[in-house]
Amino acid sequence: MKKRPWRKNLYENQEYPDNYTDESFLKDLRVNVHFQPISLKDSTLGATLIVHELCTVIVFVIIYVYLYNHWSEPNYIFSWTCGATLFCFVAYRTFYGSIRTFGYDLQTVLLFLVFGQLFSPILYTLTDTISTDTIYTMSFLMMIVHLIFFDYGLSVAVVSNSLSLSAVIFASLCLSSRLATPYEAFILMTVSIKCFVLFPLLRNKIKTSFLFTLIFVILVAYFLTTVSILMTYIFISTIIFINVVCPLIFIRFQKYKDNIYGPWDEAIVQSIDMTE
């Protein structure tokens, strides 16, 4: 007698053994359903975001080295960074914001300046008892934490704006406590705020481009040569690794993407929030 055809249900098929596998097994399997290949240009542009933040951190450290070794007048650094910030601020407000918040902005700046001045005498002696090596190691680790948790524009679990900002502010506090005078410590803290709070805001608005990245990297590399030639080589090779090698590897490995979908997947529904 011919068997009845197997059906995918649980109440018929008595003629078949329980571990029977039909030909239709896994026919509903889907692979890479929502897959969109990312082009080399897109992935390289994405990598420039990391390069920008890395360069910002290095700029900050170079300014510290200049202040620490008295290679340049503190006033000189202060006025140049303030001038640049003012220029960027005006551009930012004209193109992306409204002028109406100007009063509020001024209030914030004044508040920061007053408190910065007030606390910088405490700051510059804060870690006198701790050895400089410890401070440098700590700052290095905190900068790494900052770079890992920084918001590069992707919604992933590791992104934490508050953690990355706190880490870098802590690092700059550590570094400014190595400086000779309270005025220098105050300047370094101001630079830190400019680099890590204000500059990312501006960079978010201007679209990333290769030209901007190139100019930025060359400027940083030039100033880095005044600090250390070896560091410049390391810096440039790191940049090449991040911005050229990594995107290439990413494109190469994209073909190994193998996401499996099937009837077992959890249906996605809008989770409702009654508080709204």
Binding site: N9, L10, Y11, D18, T21, L29, N259, A267, V269, I272
Partner: protein, 435 residues
Amino acid sequence: MTRCICMVSDFFYPNIGGVEEHIFNLSQCLMSNGNKVVVITHSYGNRKGVRYMSNGLKVYYIPIKVMYNQCVLPTYFCNIPIIRYIYIRERVDIVHSHSAFSTLAHEGLLVGNLMGLKTVFTDHSLLGFCDVSSILINILLTMALSACNHCICVSHTGKENTVLRANTKIDNVSVIPNSVDTQMFHPIPELRSKDNVTIIVLSRMVYRKGIDLVIQIIEKICPKYPEINFLIGGDGPKRVLLEELREQRGFHNRVRLLGTVEHSEVKYVLNKGHIFLNCSLTEAYCMAIVEAVSCGLLVVSTNVGGIPEVLPKDLLYLTKPEVPELIKGIESALHVVKSGQFVCPYKLNLRVKGMYDWRNIASRVEKVYDLISFKKKRTLKQTFQCYLSSGVWPFLVVVALAHLMLIILDIFVPRENIDICRNYPSETRKQIKKD
């Protein structure tokens, strides 16, 4: 021949759910077929030690603290002495673990494999491949199944899922569904309201069961159809949302929340309704809808996972897991109820009876036991090779350490010193029945 089967799972009575019910019913039927069954689970509050349940089902509530979601901490070592003791004491032949979420089940499998017992694993749930938690559990499952003699899934979709997740040989995976006690879940039409139509929702109040959908449906259905009332049983983190909805929209007389419903009470709750609503977002085998149909209710359900395999299309209203589709399903069920065209509940009960029977399920599971009991006992090397085939080679360290612990235990707690326990006198029970 009498076998001794040891069911190991974190989930057992007094917890309520599909797995718990499965283990209990399966054990009962296996016992009535002349097998000896013991259950190992972790302690629930004051409930620790050895307990006997109906017909002498012996349950060991091991005194371990629960870590998260009714699961014990996955140490893989700490419970080896006590599990080994029980296996020897009860002369266990087959270790049958349940549910991939249960860490105790994985430990039971490991100890069973190393002691040379035959092992069976039943997977009760479906898991995706995308989020971190399922990836981790999939690794655990791969390790557990690589040395397991046989695996049982509760639906064909479940089998596909398990084979993909754990890389097992297809022939070692059987599909044996859950079942329902049609005697217990029988229709009591007197309990139904004559004037109103009652919709029953009975599930744990968690995201996976689609409570967010239920809330949106209630919000839309209640103002539209004044004759519909909701009766909702179950508890969980999402219950607050339902209560809030009731407060905000003033549905107090329309939506009744029962909280946790005892298993023995479920049939009375089901029989108060006309329509059963299941909004699960993923489900390997939905026991609730089978119970509802067995009580003669019209069932509206999402067509996720293994649900389309469970019952024939003419007994259910299957819809996509979306609010408008589900509402359409409810409306057509409502139309049938109002016009009085629905199938006689007793006939539904009979149909389900023809499809599902725990005794049939138990005999199929016994066939699996027969199949694996012929397999040769593995040598230590073969066991290790099995575990190595899972690809998670660091796990071998754990296996090796567990093996060493068993050797040490053999020296300090020799097998001869462990009392062999007496079997529950099932013969006398039969005699009493005869008298």
